[in-house]
Symmetry: C2
């Protein structure tokens, strides 16, 4: 490719990976295949990236932005004829303002490094997810990452005060706002949050930090009915006065498998209840907060909102409870499965799961379909498998999970994004007019369609 | 105007106000002038509005969206040749989901009515501002209203889960998402939040509600140095573990005037300190939270972060402390003044205020310039007056307040918006590229420029 010579002039040989060195890199943390793009460009700063994109735009050269490659929706998959552009050399943490509680950093900084840097100053970055060690801040922003802290602190969007992005034509949009409030014209950063690199390449950000909470309380509870789950949610959320920091639910079959051999954890509460809830609060005073937390659970027992409860008494007990919730791997051992990420109003969940199972039963006598998730956010994960991985089976499985979302206006992606993987189903969650507006925005900001083409929509 | 006949065919005579009935309505709650538009159209539903806009678009007829007309940046001012479109008949609260904690309602519902409706269900809408009785949800969304709860719950943007808007060409965009999480493609609602009716007319919304906190603690504190203020902010925010719900600061001259006759309030803390802080927490248990709150203040006294403190012991005492903070009217009695609404990193505030005063002194020996605001949000309000209201004086005053924001990347509008009033200064807070992108978005969604033309930018 002739353009690669010109790109090398901009980024130097250190900034360009070619040939089999490209394919030798995995296309994603959880993908065995190699990267298919013709080259990986690694600009050392915004200026280089700007020049590279200006050039690519002039030659209508498609590019695929790369962060930590931990995405779950094929948002960073590339193919022959495309060029990957990686943020891996944009790894500087530029400033921490401990009074304004902000961190200014480049997009390639891994989430965990940003978290640790905040902690050094006794502050907290309120974004956390399993891939923290590998995923990057730029990727978190481009996908509006969710994760473990959404119910208290919101999605990544809510932690982004400002950002810098490079447009397809190389123009650098600097919207590095550092304030919680800025109504000076349109809030342009929203264009680059959750748009999966299709409207611009995020190069820098100003993140909001929080004072670190000083207490944590965690419990695992068992319920017999979904009504108990929703009533308990209201009870504990109201009782904690804004301090509820997690409300995770595991359905029975999820819980049984992660607390039975070969899983390493044994069940802290006996198996067989239809629902298990992991609830956590964060606050300001460990002793007082623990007392209050346990009072709330006692009230819930008395009101018959819960059947049984175990409260963690140490960090290691807390770790065990979370390890159970996080041991999703167990569900990958009985043949091929696929993980789904849907959301819906909480009141619709029971019917939705029933209808989804009905649809599965129409096609298969034997199938796997376990449910767990961030219930308070409306977000359920479904691990589903039907014994085979051929295209037709997967398509049927997808329709069992996505179609019942349509009448209840649920989302085919709560937190993972659309990428390549879900774009065929976008019209389940979005109207034709909405998709047309998305396309108009794309056309306006990237008229040659060079930025992550084919992702989100065609 | 011929078009009015056609509009009447759509909305009926009840949907159209003409002639002197238009001018007899005030152009704004705080404006003595009448509405200058040729007509006020009052569609009874989205369908009617859609038809009206389609028609206006075909004839390139400019329209000005009207909510409660409480805006502070001339965002709803109209002139001859324009047609105002009011949401005053879109006043239905359609649904409250007490489990999902959402409210679905039409845009013309006044904020206070929505708040009260939430309270009936023991829930809370986390948006509040002085104009609550008159301002509408649609206006709150169009201006991304700030107010009294931002430090804990964010701007209006963070309480909007979904919305419906009508585009300039009459297309209805329904993005009535009800979940906390939905990453299914671009988050289009952001286009209509804080864009002051220039990209679409918001007709409906799904708002996030919260469980209502059960405790409130309020105190007024005095400090000698700005360093004490910022150190105390960190101390109390960390100590409250996420429960700080207000942190308002009054500079000395603000406080003296609102606690001296003819103001009705007397000073709860003696006058003469350079800074006064009103801090509030909301939580889950009044007794425990009060004890904890007072402990934090005692620690702050011991650490010499505060000089003096008064803690409210009743709702009425709390009311008095807030009445002092809210008695901005007092500053309007010594001749003409103008209120400004800027934001900047907290660390820049001291220098900013000094520089602003230096600039005032360059032009005037005698001037008024009192400062107060939502300090934790980075948001300061400045009430300034120089004895005269002629255009040149106001322009000079504006430059004294806005110019020093440029080097520190502050915002000329933290929460009030740009409207007509501040558009000449937009380039202080936004780069040329940013403003160009705003214009591209406008061009894409409203190619004929009929929606609130001339607002935000030309």
């Amino acid at each position: 490719m002739k353009i690669l010579k010109d790109i090398e002039t901009i980024v130097g040989s250190k900034g360009l990976i070619l040939g089999e060195d490209v394919f030798n890199r995995k296309a994603g943390i959880w993908i065995d295949d190699g990267i298919r793009a013709d080259a990986i460009v690694r600009p050392k700063d915004t200026q280089e990236l700007s020049e590279v994109l200006e050039l690519c735009n002039a030659f209508k050269q498609p590019v695929v932005p790369h962060g930590g490659l931990t995405g779950l929706a094929e948002g960073a998959i590339s193919k022959k004829g495309q060029i990957a552009i990686s943020s891996e050399r944009l790894v500087e943490i530029e400033e921490i303002d401990t009074v304004g509680r902000t961190m200014t950093l480049q997009a390639g900084v891994p989430l965990e490094r940003a978290q640790q840097e905040a902690e050094k100053h006794d502050l907290m970055l309120a974004v956390d997810l399993g891939a923290r060690g590998s995923c990057t801040i730029g990727g978190n922003i481009a996908t509006n990452a969710g994760g473990n802290m959404v119910v208290k602190y919101g999605m990544t969007r809510e932690s982004v005060l400002g950002l810098e992005a490079v447009l397809a034509d190389g123009r650098v949009v600097s919207s590095m706002n550092r304030m919680l409030k800025n109504n000076s014209g349109y809030d342009l950063k929203q264009l680059f949050i959750g748009t999966e690199g299709t409207l611009g390449f995020v190069t820098k950000a100003v993140l909001r930090l929080r004072e670190k909470p000083k207490s944590t309380n965690t419990a695992l509870l068992a319920m017999n009915t979904f009504e108990q789950v929703t009533k308990f949610l209201k009870h504990v959320d109201r009782g904690l006065g804004g301090n509820m920091s997690a409300f995770e639910v595991m359905w029975e079959d999820f819980y049984s498998q992660v607390t039975s051999p070969p899983a390493v954890n044994s069940p802290p509460l006996k198996q067989g209840f239809p629902y298990y809830v992991l609830v956590e609060s964060s606050g300001s005073n460990q002793d007082k907060d623990s007392e209050h937390f346990e009072n709330l659970l006692e009230q819930a027992l008395n009101k018959e909102l819960i059947e049984d409860a175990v409260v963690s008494k140490s960090d290691s007990e807390r770790g065990t409870l979370w390890a159970i919730r996080d041991d999703v791997e167990q569900h990958y051992q009985d043949g091929p499965v696929k993980m789904f990420d849907v959301s819906m109003p909480i009141l619709c969940m029971e019917n939705y799961i029933e209808e989804m199972n009905n649809k599965f039963r129409e096609h298969w006598n034997d199938y796997k379909c376990v449910v767990f998730g961030h219930l308070a956010d409306g977000n359920l994960h479904v691990v589903a498998g039907v014994g085979s991985e051929d295209k037709e089976s997967i398509k049927k499985m997808e329709s069992c999970i996505y179609e019942p979302l349509k009448p209840i206006k649920g989302a085919i992606s709560a937190e993972h994004g659309i990428g390549l993987e879900k774009k065929d189903y976008l019209s389940i969650s979005r109207s034709e007019i909405e998709i047309n507006i998305m396309k108009s925005l794309k056309e306006t900001l990237d008229p040659n369609g060079i930025l992550n083409p084919g992702k989100v929509f065609d």
